[in-house]
Subunit: 508 residues, 2 copies
């Protein structure tokens, strides 16, 4: 039996394993500030990679980056009733702008510096961006108006989990105003497609894109679309959302335009967001019992060179050899960017360093000892094929030139392997032949994947009843997949004619 | 007389001109949230360019990016007395985590959701990063520990000015812990040198690097260094600071390490920051009466192509010609990056577009009409040479191939020209022969530049007296330049033997 690098396996306790990966891969840690985490260099490096790729996609869409205030006056928020209902219970509220000594050696908010109007720390920026849009949009010539910001947002969650649900998180939020529903819906779908592409191609996360049912919409939205990824425990993780907001936010913020005929109309607005929570999805999709396996496209270092130094006079030759290898590799391009190579000269032992990089999930680890230098070889450990069938570490000894010549292709292969593995798992765990949810989820079977059923898209009380019924099995509706087969029978829930298919599963 | 594009000149009212540039160049605007601005695409694009260049320098230093919480518990802050004294008067304080209806249709902070301990919105992150460092540093092997974050910070300023002094601003803050004062001071100077290089080479801002006098130190620091830039009105703008914090913050946060002999010592810590305020410096250094002149290295678009369309059948040929020109230019590298070219197909009139780009400060504007297409030419407007001696617009008609061949060199020349012009102004406005400050600053002369004097570096009450004396003339000490000539006489203020030279001036 393999002795794995982590102290807990996925099988034994998935939740504990998740925390262990984060700690052992040095991705993040609790900060001592309630619900807020510190994102450490390896975790932040992954986010920087995601940002770079997403930002290029956003710019390709023709959307322009801006920056809007962190604080939102309460009065901005109150204008959209559904929106404020959705967020009022979890908002950080700034009430004072100065501290003062309490006379007993402690500081307190200065009662003389109380704000006339409390400020909300943004949980999302529709309202404050809407206020700007109402200034910027005058005529049809100003439309579509399309902006994006990279920002921190705060939602005061009662139960937090690193990356997945933290009081503060990082994201990008795109916002746009349009002259018609059609144009706004097209933008909603463009953003969704960007998310699907980045998730699948960069994060190696196969996802199902679809519309959220009415009860799962963003507060105030007319329609919400999502990409849903399946974690290794079968649960769904919503990895990005795109909202068609109708004209409700435009009405609240007074975003109107003069059309070509001189009339005045409300804009149709759109918003879309993708956050650091997707790093949680990467961990729970690609991690194994030895830590994270980081897809090469988002790995801060794609190839790590570990010199096997022994504090003797062979060390200099090893370091020279490693430096020349580093230089050769850095001259290569993978995924249209220079290959990211690290020569790890840290003072720790080579064995410690190897396992450190395994746990972090560096795609390729190269170990160089005196014999490799003498033979012109490298010892290659691929993170996607860590063990041989006999359970021994799968180290391949190949010629240095041979490795360099194949390095870019190998990185591509690792990226593809991680994606293919996750995709196979996703499709193997969606059932379409289910007649009784309780039998599958609560019965002996203990099914933990997703079920796709057809339904009549009920609303109101009927929908509420279905939601309650699912809740009893700890299930939720994820989305109605855009590329599902057409409905052709009776609704799973109501028996009425079905109009589409909906995915059901447990969720993060 | 030239009819300039702005409604107010620098000469007439520098402060009003500054606001006008920001509005006309579409850099930023008031947000409706007290003291907070919206950074618009052109302003944010400049910040993205600064970020990219600075971030590369930070990574070259070997410093790793992380992310730390927005919120700092009051108790973290209270530990360093000088630090809290310096910031307590201008901090946004979060006291509640939920809103509730007041029964009269308004929302109020929910009295049942009051935080046990108020949270500060970070004005700077020494305290919260110190708490992390105390967990991360155990032995000398962990040192130096060097991190950086790109973040928003909040300082509740009573009088705000866009970019220069806003309640919320964006910056990077570097933080490090070291095993000795020497190592910490070396890091302090490395960061200062990075700032000097980026300011001079990318922002085209000539600066004077030096140490701030004791009374101008960062709250809690043992030494503060700055780069100071001179605006066109002669005032100084502190464009970046680097602080040697001694062991005070390490003591407050308990950042200790086991040294090689097994003893335990306090770390010496360092912090350094560079913010969106430098965009204000770019405006006030390079702007003219026609708007901003954006140094090519930080211009979101370096070359803008304006097709002179006339809604007739020649338009298609013009657009083809522009598209092929755009493609040729985009294939070039300037400053080791692809040239940033925009083909402006906006529906506005060509004349409107031209002046829009002049006001924004695009380094090169190309206008293409039917005659240019026929002759294989381009009409070139360089933002650094906007007018001819006779006051007419300085449009050069050159062959397209000729322009393309010289484009990279031209961008370099514009960058150099802006820097050289600012440098000449800086050195022409530093006086070293001053015997009476009042004569120069308050007399008929109305000198508005800087004065360099030698001084004995007094402390305590003597220093306080000098500060008061300067304040009466609205003057402050900027810094003691690192590359000043050695002192060789009596202190300007005390008559005691001088030990160094100090710069005096008015400031933003």
């Amino acid at each position: 039996m393999i002795k794995h690098a982590l102290s807990v396996t996925r099988q034994a306790d998935f939740a504990a394993w998740y925390q262990d990966v984060i700690a052992e891969a040095d991705l993040a840690e609790e900060s001592g500030v309630r619900g807020c985490m510190v994102i450490k260099p390896w975790g932040y490096g992954i986010w920087e990679r995601i940002q770079t790729i997403m930002d290029a996609g956003i710019k390709d869409m023709g959307v322009q980056n801006c920056y809007f205030p962190l604080f939102i006056p309460l009065s901005f928020f109150e204008k959209e009733a559904d929106h404020v209902d959705g967020f009022a219970k979890e908002m950080a509220v700034v009430t004072h702008h100065r501290l003062i000594g309490d006379g007993k050696g402690k500081l307190i908010p200065d009662p003389d510096a109380k704000l006339e109007e409390p400020l909300i720390v943004r949980p999302t920026s529709e309202t404050v961006i809407g206020a700007a849009m109402s200034r910027w949009v005058q005529s049809w010539r100003d439309l579509p108006l399309r902006v994006n910001q990279w920002a921190n947002v705060v939602r005061w969650e009662m139960r937090t989990r690193m990356f997945l649900r933290t009081a503060e998180f990082l994201w990008q939020e795109g916002h746009s105003a349009h002259d018609s529903k059609e144009d706004a819906l097209a933008e909603t779908m463009r953003a969704l497609e960007l998310y699907r592409t980045v998730a699948e191609e960069a994060l190696a996360l196969p996802v199902i894109a679809g519309e959220k049912p009415e009860n799962e919409r963003f507060p105030g939205a007319a329609a919400t679309y999502s990409i849903e990824a399946m974690m290794q425990d079968g649960k769904a993780l919503q990895a990005g959302t795109s909202h068609y907001l109708g004209t409700g936010f435009a009405e609240a913020a007074n975003i109107r335009f003069q059309d070509k005929d001189g009339g005045h109309s409300l804009c149709h607005t759109v918003s879309w967001g993708f956050s650091t929570r997707t790093i949680g999805a990467v961990i729970m999709t690609h991690g194994d019992d030895d830590g994270l396996r980081c897809p090469p496209r988002i790995a801060p270092h794609q190839i790590v060179i570990v010199p096997m130094l022994r504090d003797n006079d062979e060390d200099a030759a090893i370091l020279d050899y490693c430096a020349s290898l580093e230089k050769e590799l850095k001259a290569l391009d993978a995924f249209r960017e220079p290959v990211r190579v690290l020569l790890d000269t840290n003072a720790n032992k080579a064995q410690t360093k190897r396992w450190g990089w395994v746990k972090k999930g560096a795609p390729i680890i190269l170990e160089i000892g005196p014999r490799d230098v003498a033979g012109g070889n490298v010892a290659v450990i691929r993170r996607d094929r860590l063990y041989k069938d006999d359970g021994k570490l799968n180290t391949a000894f190949v010629g240095k030139d041979e490795f360099v010549a194949a390095a870019v292709a190998t990185l591509g292969e690792i990226q593809d392997n991680l994606y293919a593995e996750a995709k196979e798992r996703l499709y193997a765990n969606i059932r379409r032949d289910v007649t009784d949810l309780a039998v599958h989820y609560a019965g002996d079977d203990k099914f933990a994947g997703w079920v796709e059923v057809q339904w009549s898209r009920p609303t109101g009380a009927v929908l509420d009843g279905i939601v309650e019924q699912l809740k009893a099995l700890k299930l939720t509706m994820r989305n109605t997949p855009l590329d599902a087969a057409p409905a052709d029978g009776a609704c799973f829930f109501t028996g009425e004619p079905a109009v589409e298919r909906v995915l059901i599963g447990r969720t993060y």
